[in-house]
Symmetry: C2
Subunit: 525 residues, 2 copies
């Protein structure tokens, strides 16, 4: 296939110091093009309550009955022991654990309603909970694609490029797991290479997978080294997060429970997100799927509090429906949005930060990808989501990270951020005098009121093509995906690695190299 | 260009009776394929309040000052006389009219907060106001397009096809003006041909343009004949509607004012929708543009009440921004959404049904068309819009009605309608017993609870392609626009004209033919 040179490697190998030259003078890569500043977003209005307090209570009570009467299978011996110690009904010779509602609610009461995730660059700290909102890059796609080279399995070069795009764009607050799984790195050391990249190629908060004790411990240590803080300070300052997708229905496996134990005991953030697809791993009714979601989320969150009271946790909602003909998961559907909004109501009921996602089932960046994503994105905003996972890049129900989708989503996220900005209601903004001056039948284009403001009055989209039909046709009728394709290449070429103290870089490299020499982590998970 | 036969004429010339055969047995064309039933939608939650009561009051008060201190230019002599009679400040020799805030608010108090639009098929009546929601087909596009034949000026065949698609789909509650302007019909008799089509090819409520007295009077008479009711009954039963786009800034021209006079005096619905593009016909600040929108809307609505107290009216919001480089209007932007939501707050403050729109600036049905449309569509839902104009088909900032966009929008509207349906919270839906039965690690796919419900559990999209990447690739990687293209052709082929009493049909034809013989309406507007 002919086309532009796509072997984009904008900087030397990550983790290697670079000296002098442009690096010495750089103002930070994110200033290489015009974009809104990095800032903590907040949702300035009440989230939408689509079910009544009584209906919400019905889900809550049913989920407590599930935990009491049915219980969960808990595969991890130490976890069962911790649960038993706290009063859960754990019986010798059985994996099934039953939880009294009083125990669950007592533990839930320990959850912080808000906390800050600390980045190695403090300007990139992110607050979760309350009316705060943060966007994370896609995580965990096995494949990646762009329209020049098509679809391919994940690999380190694409992994790094995606991380760089996340660093370049202020609207991406954190990375969110591996944007694509780099299968060209051996699984035993993959987490070490990937975490080093995430700690050096970005200075934003990153995600640690719960796939066995070593990976959690290594991830937490890399977060600590990158920030240059002590273990004690880290305990009070969550600096990385993990997502626990329960084995729905009603099962918690060993790596998950180990992940909760490691992360919570080190004061790092744990977001429990049951993977409750209605009609597959959960009841076919949205209400029933939410009962199961809520039972599993409450159990996981309560367990994190048993490990360490006050541990930073999040309530994750991922309930969606499946295509009942094929069993394929669907996203951005009416059922997905209902579940998002009710999930938000449940999280607020418990006072726990809420996580949802920007998803779609489309196979390419066409109208379907856009409408499913925007449905799910507005579901996030209207549900009062605090942490939007997969906010940029998600295609094919999460099976592919698309370069073009990342750019499209960045535009969507920037639009949402602009929408959330408060309006100016000053006398000057109300424009009484401008209206008087222009008068009936006049035009505001040339008025001093307009001239003083037009450059910054409106959000400038990066994908939308607002040319008229004739001009657009003469330009070859480009569609949104083509503009997105041009854009990621332009922007990636502007990437520069964020600065890192040489001593920290050395400590980080020494740690990673030592752990690689030791063989990394077991791969029999 | 080769391709399918697109000279689709599913029925004989409209307005001609058809007898026997399929027509005699038809169950109504809308049952020719699976779709949710025609039903009155309602929004079951509180609309989003993005500005505080104080901020809303600042807009309200500034707009009253505009009406008092600056006033509007009113070009219609009788209208000024009516205004003067009601206490407005009208001066001899001047077109400028000033309105006291007391007068405005006194008139506004006469507006009905809800009313029903009566269709010739009572099953297709539509209620506006309160928490009711209705979707109207696109209106007033000069061009139309499909991906087989490309873009072309409006014409009668496409006009009729669009009207048929509106009749076929239950989610389209009313037509909304000419979906495309049929320029192959002489302007003097165009309204007669078009209104006859709208009265015969559909049995839903239609729109009457305010482009001179004759067109309003003819439209109202056609609505009356089609329903087979008396003039007296029509006075109490609004059966058609008109949109008045003020000549922003601050001007009301003769056809507009005549339209308000004719429609309001006959008890027909008038929706005042200022065309306030921020930076062009309105201040560049969203707050300032809304001040102007509100001043013009209040003046128009108050005038309708001066013509006839209690006349059914709507508050239309159409404030958006322009591309400050080209002056081209933008749609589905963050500024557009803010204006939509605040417009809804203003309309609720006055207790008047609210109109907004599903819009985009895209030139083709790509990701941009979808995301701009879905942004504006959720703006409608979250703002508590009662009447969504241009709900299906709008492309290019309204300059084109697209066959494929109609189908895409129908899917989006059906998804929104499904989202608005209340969830089942019965014991059975909460699924406690199903969860118990399946248990930890089980699967719900084959469970009796799922089997009893899977066919109707979820909304089935008509455009979304949920196949996995491999299957989708093998099928030729179709995008959403291609599926939409296939669909409109399939569905249009199923169209059948809705039944009409032969006596009514005869009266309608006689009226239209007489008015055509008389020369129709003047074309010097």
């Amino acid at each position: 296939m002919s086309g532009p040179d796509l072997s984009i490697e904008a900087s030397p190998e990550p983790g290697q110091a670079r000296r002098g030259g442009r690096a010495g003078k750089r103002r930070g890569a994110a200033s290489a093009f015009e974009q809104p500043p990095f800032r903590q977003l907040t949702i300035p209005f009440q989230p939408t309550e689509i079910v009544s307090a009584d209906e919400l209570e019905a889900i809550h009570l049913a989920s407590l009955r599930v935990l009491e009467e049915i219980g969960l299978e808990v595969l991890h011996d130490e976890a069962r022991a911790i649960m038993k110690r706290h009063g859960a009904d754990v019986r010798e010779g059985s994996l099934r654990v039953h939880f009294d509602r009083g125990l669950i609610m007592e533990m839930i009461a320990h959850c912080p309603s808000e906390f800050t995730l600390h980045a190695r660059n403090p300007a990139h700290n992110v607050r979760l909970g309350g009316n705060n909102l943060a966007f994370a890059l896609i995580g965990s796609a096995p494949n990646c694609s762009d329209i020049d080279r098509g679809r391919r399995p994940g690999n380190q070069q694409d992994f790094r490029n995606f991380i760089r795009l996340a660093q370049l764009h202020n609207i991406i607050h954190t990375t969110g797991g591996y944007p694509v799984e780099p299968i060209d790195i051996h699984p035993s050391i993959r987490h070490l290479e990937c975490l080093r990249d995430m700690a050096t190629l970005t200075d934003k908060v990153f995600h640690v997978y719960s796939l066995g004790r070593e990976r959690n411990v290594d991830g937490i240590e890399i977060a600590r080294i990158a920030r240059g803080v002590s273990r004690e300070q880290l305990l009070d300052e969550p600096s990385c997060l993990t997502i626990i997708n329960t084995n729905s229905p009603l099962k918690l496996d060993i790596p998950m429970l180990e992940g909760v134990i490691q992360m919570a005991s080190h004061g790092q953030a744990v977001i429990i997100t049951p993977f409750t697809l209605a009609g597959a791993m959960a009841p076919v009714t949205v209400a029933g799927a939410l009962v199961e979601q809520n039972a599993e989320a409450l159990a996981g969150i309560a367990f994190a509090q048993m490990v360490r009271k006050g541990a930073p946790v999040g309530y994750g909602g991922f309930t969606s429906n499946v295509d009942m003909r094929s069993g394929a998961p669907a996203f951005g559907t009416p059922e997905y949005m209902k579940a998002q909004l009710i999930g938000g109501q449940l999280a607020r009921r418990y006072g726990i930060p809420y996580r949802s996602s920007n998803t779609c089932a489309a196979n390419t960046v066409d109208a379907q990808a856009a409408y499913e994503s925007v449905f799910s994105l507005w579901g996030c905003i209207q549900s009062g989501t605090n942490f939007v996972k997969h906010a940029a890049g998600w295609l094919e129900g999460g099976l592919c990270c698309s370069y073009e989708k990342i750019m499209l989503d960045i535009d969507l996220l920037q639009m949402v951020a602009e929408f959330l900005q408060p309006l100016d209601f000053s006398e000057d903004a109300l424009a009484m005098e401008a209206i008087r001056e222009v008068g009936p039948g006049g035009h505001f284009f040339g008025s001093p009121h307009t001239q003083a403001r037009y450059k910054t009055a409106f959000y400038s989209p990066i994908i939308s093509d607002w040319r008229n039909y004739e001009t657009w046709s003469q330009a070859g009728s480009p569609t949104a995906i083509e503009r997105a394709n041009r854009l990621w290449k332009e922007r990636l070429a502007l990437y520069e690695e964020p600065p890192m103290d040489p001593a920290i870089r050395q400590e980080l490299n020494e740690f990673v190299e030592r752990r690689i020499r030791e063989g990394g982590a077991p791969t029999d998970f």
